[in-house]
């Protein structure tokens, strides 16, 4: 079997186009423009790149983008005051505080000071709790993107055996909740799992979210399974820098039914889902029906 490649770049473009359509409709019919505020503290180069592309895409889909760039020495008090101001600003429907924060700032405290209804990253403990009890919530962007790709490929996921490798708070655990919400039988595997190859071999759906380059070889993949590779690992090979996933792509693609490449798979979906979440938050804030197909 040669796997169908799940083109995350194309799918993300489609999601952004859906968001743009809905935004245009919101403006026309309700006179509302969704707004996303992104807060960046300090000058971490990777974070600057992310914030820039988030801002760019926010504007491209017709939303307002508010960027707040704070000095690396910003006090917790000042940061919390800014978040409070954004919480109370009716033009701001989504708030994202770019992580990691400088060490003198308490990330949990800052994230949990965001109004849960505006927490478009889905990291506030209230959103974790809502997701964990099957209620409407803001869903973390990366696992939401994976879910959208899986639903698009399979239609219903009900009854499928899904294995999530990795138990991080931002990918593995919410991914497991989402798959459970779609009625998969869900197994969460991790570094302490005894026989990982055997566990992965059972899976109709494998989501790899560990952050270890090419740790899942093809012979762990059940023939015909769908493989979602969340890893984005920078390695050097043959003297060149290269991005690879947590899955060994070539050998896995020879067995899987469908697979996401790295780059161009899960990666592009994350920002698309951030925009989708901002739109969802805006609709909820205005008591309008939620856009279809853009959330869990």
């Amino acid at each position: 079997m040669v796997a169908q490649v799940i083109d995350g770049k194309a799918f993300a473009a489609k999601v952004r186009a859906q968001v743009a359509d809905q935004v245009a409709k919101l403006k026309e019919e309700n006179g509302i423009t969704p707004g996303l505020a992104v807060v960046l503290v300090g000058e971490d180069p990777a974070s600057q790149v992310y914030v820039r592309s988030k801002g760019k895409m926010t504007v491209e889909v017709g939303m307002n983008s508010y960027e707040h760039k704070l000095d690396v020495d910003t006090s917790e008090e000042d940061l919390l005051a800014l978040v409070e101001k954004l919480n109370n600003d009716p033009a701001v429907h989504g708030i994202l505080v770019q992580l990691p924060l400088p060490k003198h700032l308490n990330e949990d405290l800052v994230i949990n000071s965001i109004d849960p209804a505006k927490d478009v990253d889905g990291f506030h403990i209230s959103n974790v709790g809502l997701l964990g009890t099957g209620q409407k919530s803001m869903v973390p962007c990366t696992p939401l993107g994976c879910l959208m790709m899986l639903r698009d490929h399979h239609g219903s996921l009900s009854g499928m055996d899904a294995v999530v490798i990795g138990r991080s708070n931002i990918v593995g655990k919410p991914m497991a909740q989402l798959l459970l919400g779609d009625s998969c039988t869900v197994t969460i595997a991790h570094s302490r799992t005894k026989d990982l190859p055997d566990v992965v071999r059972r899976a109709d759906i494998v989501v790899a979210a560990v952050g270890r380059p090419e740790m899942v070889p093809g012979d762990w993949i059940k023939e015909g399974a769908t493989v979602i590779d969340v890893g984005i690992n920078r390695i050097e090979r043959d003297g060149k820098n290269k991005l690879v996933g947590d899955v060994d792509y070539a050998s896995a693609a020879a067995r899987a039914g469908a697979i996401t490449p790295v780059p161009g798979g899960v990666g592009p979906m994350t920002i698309a889902c951030l925009l989708a979440n901002t739109l969802t938050a805006c609709c909820r804030a205005n008591k309008l029906p939620e856009p279809e197909g853009l959330t869990a």
Copy 2:
């Protein structure tokens, strides 16, 4: 193999004795008496029995018990006002609103109005979120009781294959989080699971929490596995009323390494864990070290 019987009644008595010791110490060394407030709305007979035994055992371990019995027609406003009063009462360290509530009252709203630090049932979405991100929380009593029994029997659970059957918010899902926190490889199975016998047969630990009498037969159990039966089902057999679990006890006990009976297994642990949670909440409120071995 004939399974070792995990005696929940004896274990619960041991937990209550530990709680009583710690309560005595708290009184002597710090002049503090933990207090548990239980709120009952209406006259559901089963709820009345539960509330009565909770009150009795609370007093037996040396804590203060505050029972609030409200008329079945109590308005949401009045109930929320009572919860608010208890939230602000420094003598109350734990608050439990007995479920189910009469239909005109919104359970989610009421539960989420409890101060999360006093939410000894662990149902507040903030506690679900804290547990779901591996942080200190109030842990729901029934899965906490199961975890304590498993730790007592096995010592470390790290690397064990655990299968939780059932995905309810009060047992299945928090149980999965707790087993994951103890580094099990965790599978959550449910009514949509395709080949449940096969899934259960992989498990070193089976937690059955479905509410269907004797639905798990012995031949689904791996030789030597530990079986925790959360089900408490009332059936009629040979003209007599009988309590049975979700597991067919006789056939499962012939294969398991250890098993909890029904009655006398998980059941008695629930109230013991409620008392443990109240003690934990009291210690946290007073910035004292948490009692060892009584929480996740």
